[in-house]
């Protein structure tokens, strides 16, 4: 089932009468989610991710715009008739019901021609439980489960009535780091197995990048960029997206373009073509900085952090907007730390220019 959002907008009226500031939680969101894909909605806190999800679920009404499931316009359809499964940020498992009762609950609500017999319900409940590997825990109460198990119960409850669309609101935010890794793989596996179109909200870019087919980066209610994780990472449209994706974060430095050269301070670090002279922000991915004796960017060396396979060179440069300039290199490469300065060459495809006013990407050709 593909999901189409058309100029979707949500405006919350202002609470206090004096300031009269209304909140535009989601602003003119247009996007077509292909059938069977896993989409990650990504952005900082308060950017409208949950609101988007709740509008798709029908729990909140859009102020304007339309939502289609396949060819059906579901904008006016009530939640229970949309055929969605929703996993809440804190799971919202019914505390007084066992795992089994929780999962079976949506089935017991079916009426009319969809009504199931007891045996059918039991079978589907057990299938859903098996899918998320909690079939051992069916008789427990939610309070007797770990966070990860609760989350799987919530997914099973969302899946059991075979929804057309599965929506997950920060499903991993309550889990510890290990369990997070494990459960996100599991979400991926379940999604692949069921083939249900899934929309998944997170503010953790790594999480979104690692399991999504498509990511949507949002900021203050406005969609910044949509695409495959790798291509968004490799080709950010603006400074916000570039800064939001990647760990460690991208190095951002002030500089300018003059006569076909990009300057950081007094160093001309790259020759470019097709760019007008202007002040720019320069984004360089940590893996885009190569220490080299004939490097064109001079930095002061602070220290080296070795992390097994990779090492991280921590340096400083007066033009840097981040506290440090960081380069990720192979840990076999030897760096002479007795010297004060280190010289870097930049890899052009890891090197982005952004207009200083608009913070939009300035494209260039390498000379």
């Amino acid at each position: 089932m593909k999901v189409v959002l058309e100029n979707l907008t949500k405006i919350f009226p202002s609470r206090d009468k004096k300031s009269g500031q209304e909140v535009i939680a989601v602003n003119d969101f247009t996007f077509e989610i292909p059938d069977g894909q896993l989409v990650g909605l990504l952005g900082p806190s308060g950017c409208g991710k949950s609101t988007t999800l709740y509008m798709i679920s029908g729990l909140q009404k859009p102020s304007s715009g339309k939502i289609y499931f396949g060819e059906d316009d579901v904008t006016e359809l009530s939640t229970e008739n949309r055929g969605i499964g929703l996993v809440f940020q804190n799971y919202a498992l019914y505390p007084h019901m066992t795992v089994k009762q929780n999962i079976m609950f949506p089935l017991q609500n079916l009426k009319g021609k969809d009504k199931l017999t007891k045996d059918e319900m039991l079978e589907r409940t057990e299938n859903a439980a098996r899918l998320v590997q909690i079939d051992e825990l069916l008789e427990r109460k939610p309070s007797e489960l770990s966070g990860g198990q609760q989350q799987r119960v919530a997914i099973a409850r969302a899946l059991v009535k075979m929804p057309r669309v599965l929506l997950l609101d920060e499903p991993l935010s309550n889990l510890d780091a290990r369990l997070r890794l494990q459960t996100r793989e599991e979400i991926r596996r379940i999604q692949k197995e069921t083939g249900i179109t899934t929309i998944f909200v997170t503010h953790d870019q790594e999480e979104a990048m690692s399991i999504s087919d498509i990511i949507v980066v949002m900021k203050l209610g406005v969609v910044q960029q949509i695409g495959e994780p790798q291509s968004v990472y490799d080709d950010p449209k603006n400074l916000f997206v570039a800064k939001f994706l990647g760990t460690p974060p991208i190095n951002v430095l002030e500089g300018k373009v003059e006569n076909g050269k990009v300057y950081i301070g007094d160093d001309d670090v790259l020759d470019v073509a097709g760019v007008e002279d202007q002040d720019v922000y320069i984004g360089i991915r940590p893996e885009g900085l190569e220490p080299s004796d004939d490097g064109r960017l001079n930095c002061t060396i602070n220290n080296i952090e070795v992390m097994g396979r990779d090492a991280s060179v921590v340096a400083s440069n007066s033009a840097s907007l981040n506290p440090v300039v960081r380069a990720i290199i192979n840990s076999d490469v030897r760096i002479d730390t007795t010297k004060q300065t280190i010289k870097f060459n930049v890899k052009p495809h890891k090197f982005f220019l952004f207009n200083k006013e608009t913070e939009e990407r300035v494209y260039f050709e390498v000379n």
């Binding site: 939640t79 229970e80 929703l86 809440f88 919202a92 505390p95 007084h96 609500n109 009426k111 009535k161």
Partner: protein
């Protein structure tokens, strides 16, 4: 931990409370026990220098006494009828109040008003509302005066003699049930509304996503999640019901019956009557019996609740 050297300070700070408790709680309880087991104890007689044998004569007398069984019956009927009715009504009203947004505060205040109104005063108003069928101007036209009978007549029914001379026991008890339920509602609504407002709204969103119908949401989600508050309301309801007294005075006056009708006296009323006749021993015995009954009912309640309260 307080150093033992300084413990006397702790006791000093506690002493006002302890002394008050000893005088007004511990001693009366002890004294009640003592008097209950002194055969035929009475204050006046005690002052006159009589001594009393230790024994269970008071209890035997109380149970033998036909008024006692009547009081027990009245109390039990009022309890058993009013607690479920008022709890269910309070639940429905609380759910309704919780779901309407405009005027919510005003409505809450209105529903809470009976709680801060004197029960004797309310009783008198009820008495007026349930007043008699009577003859106006000594004429032959039967005319109802109470608003309830007026309403019944308006809808074409026969007026009923609720509380006046010649009224039946059933009619009397019915009025008492209506009154007690109405009087019990505000406290229950307040507690349940507080409980409702503390239920995480996401459970209702989840129920909506799961396509749950309204009635099922009430029975399968709201009631279980509210069960601790419901348990509290039911237990205190029973305890209050067993102590019912002033409401009957409010409607029927200190005779506690319709003129010439069967007595509506309750357990507490029985205790007061015995006290007024200088039968303190018997009063204490009755009070202890009431205590044991309340204890047993509460234990049963607790057992039931353990099974059905979910967390």
């Amino acid at each position: 931990m307080v150093e033992s050297r300084h413990q006397w300070k702790a006791w000093l700070y506690l002493s006002p409370a302890i002394i008050l408790l000893l005088i007004f709680t511990v001693w009366p309880i002890f004294n009640t026990l003592r008097m209950a087991f002194l055969d035929g104890y009475g204050n006046m007689a005690a002052i006159g220098g009589r001594t009393f044998e230790f024994g269970i004569d008071n209890f035997v007398k109380v149970i033998d006494y036909k008024d006692f069984l009547l009081c027990l019956k009245n109390t039990a009927i009022l309890c058993v009828a009013t607690v479920p009715i008022s709890t269910i009504l309070a639940l429905l009203i609380a759910v309704a109040l919780n779901s309407i947004k405009p005027l919510q505060k005003t409505l809450q205040t209105i529903f809470f008003l009976p709680y801060v109104t004197n029960s004797i005063a309310i009783g008198m108003v009820f008495a007026a509302m349930f007043n008699i069928v009577g003859l106006r101007d000594g004429g032959t036209n039967a005319q109802t005066w109470g608003i309830i009978n007026n309403a019944i007549e308006f809808f074409g029914g026969e007026p009923i003699n609720w509380i006046n001379a010649g009224s039946t026991y059933t009619a009397n008890i019915f009025v008492m049930i209506v009154y007690i339920v109405w009087n019990a509602l505000p406290f229950k609504i307040l507690i349940l509304l507080g409980g409702l407002q503390s239920i995480n709204k996401q459970y209702y969103d989840a129920a909506k996503v799961d396509g749950t119908r309204k009635f099922r949401v009430l029975t399968r989600i709201t009631v279980p999640l509210l069960s601790p508050m419901l348990a509290y309301v039911i237990i205190t309801g029973f305890i209050g019901g067993f102590k019912e007294y002033s409401s009957i005075i409010g409607i029927f006056g200190d005779k506690m019956s319709a003129p010439g009708g069967e007595s509506l006296n309750t357990m507490v009323g029985f205790v007061y009557d015995a006290l007024a006749r200088d039968r303190q021993g018997r009063a204490c015995a009755a009070a202890l019996i009431l205590f044991v009954i309340i204890l047993i009912v509460t234990l049963i309640n607790n057992k039931f609740i353990k099974k059905h309260v979910h967390y």
